[in-house]
Subunit: 133 residues, 3 copies
């Protein structure tokens, strides 16, 4: 298991971590298997989406802000319930296939750390399980 540090700089932010994840897969030495990325936070998430046009993460963050508004009369006293809701909608973990020692991603796909209650010093875990076959 490897840990990747992510320092976020605003309350809501998507940060492309594809290069760091790819490096961790190479370091694992696994040629064929399954990569799992896990975010150990309850107000952040991880997703895969386009990493070609910078307006896509911007639109995703605005879309999520409409879906889970920051102020909607929540009960939780810390005032970050929108971030908890977004974390469960987007999810704090995902798996990617590994072939020939590389994560298998589509042409336009990148792996994004999603901050919903920053800025904070965050981390994510990466683990590759080799194929037993």
């Amino acid at each position: 298991m490897d840990a990747i540090s992510v320092n976020t700089t605003s309350r809501c932010q998507m940060i492309d971590v594809t290069a760091q994840v790819r490096a961790a897969v190479r370091k694992s030495g696994v040629k064929s298997g399954l990569l799992t990325c896990f975010v150990p936070h309850t107000t952040a998430a991880i997703t895969i989406n386009e990493n070609a046009d910078g307006t896509v993460p911007e639109d995703i963050l605005e879309g999520l802000a409409r879906i889970a508004p920051a102020d909607a009369g929540y009960a939780h006293s810390e005032g970050n319930s929108d971030a908890h809701i977004k974390s469960s909608l987007v999810g704090c973990q995902l798996s990617v296939l590994v072939e020939k020692g590389e994560p298998v991603l589509g042409t336009w796909q990148g792996i994004w750390f999603c901050e919903f209650d920053g800025p904070r010093a965050r981390k994510m875990y990466v683990k590759v399980v080799g194929d037993a076959m």
Copy 2:
């Protein structure tokens, strides 16, 4: 594969199943690998979120009710389309890393079974695949 029984007591409810999942990981004997939790229902889900303050699951359930209202002129005759939508948004499965024989969770993270069309007798499956490396 282990099955965990979950008896829900209201239509929408989040139930902390962290202890049961942790016990299943220990029982598997796997020291390093990947834990997958799977809910075999189409109107329930599983998520990871804060298990310290009881208002967080309450706010998540209310947030989801705003996102997928119970009555929105759905076509499905059973009257539980909101539950089907929530199930696909939150997801019926997730994976967690296993190290030193324990699931790797963040300080505030717990694993929650999400009921969206209860009360019902539900179950979830847990399986740990060991690292072949």
Copy 3:
């Protein structure tokens, strides 16, 4: 790793791919392990939901259209930001347990490819990692 072709015929569509996924699991020869389905596109997704009543996917697609409207003043010039948002909400990957050479699905569960910006010629990847235990 196997690739499954999916040809979609409308902008938003859910296509039941359970039979193709089941065939790929059998072909893998793995009796116990973990199946992962991965969609290498950023405007599509994959989910598990009811495959008994055809109105369920219809209601899910309409629910998603309310959650992420097609026209909401997005910045992304391609005009498909709603599809990117839906892709991150539903997710482009999922894992299913494999026992006795078959994916373990609930009675009413099917695996659905979700098109959010079609019609297009799409594909998805399927891989089964055997249990090392």
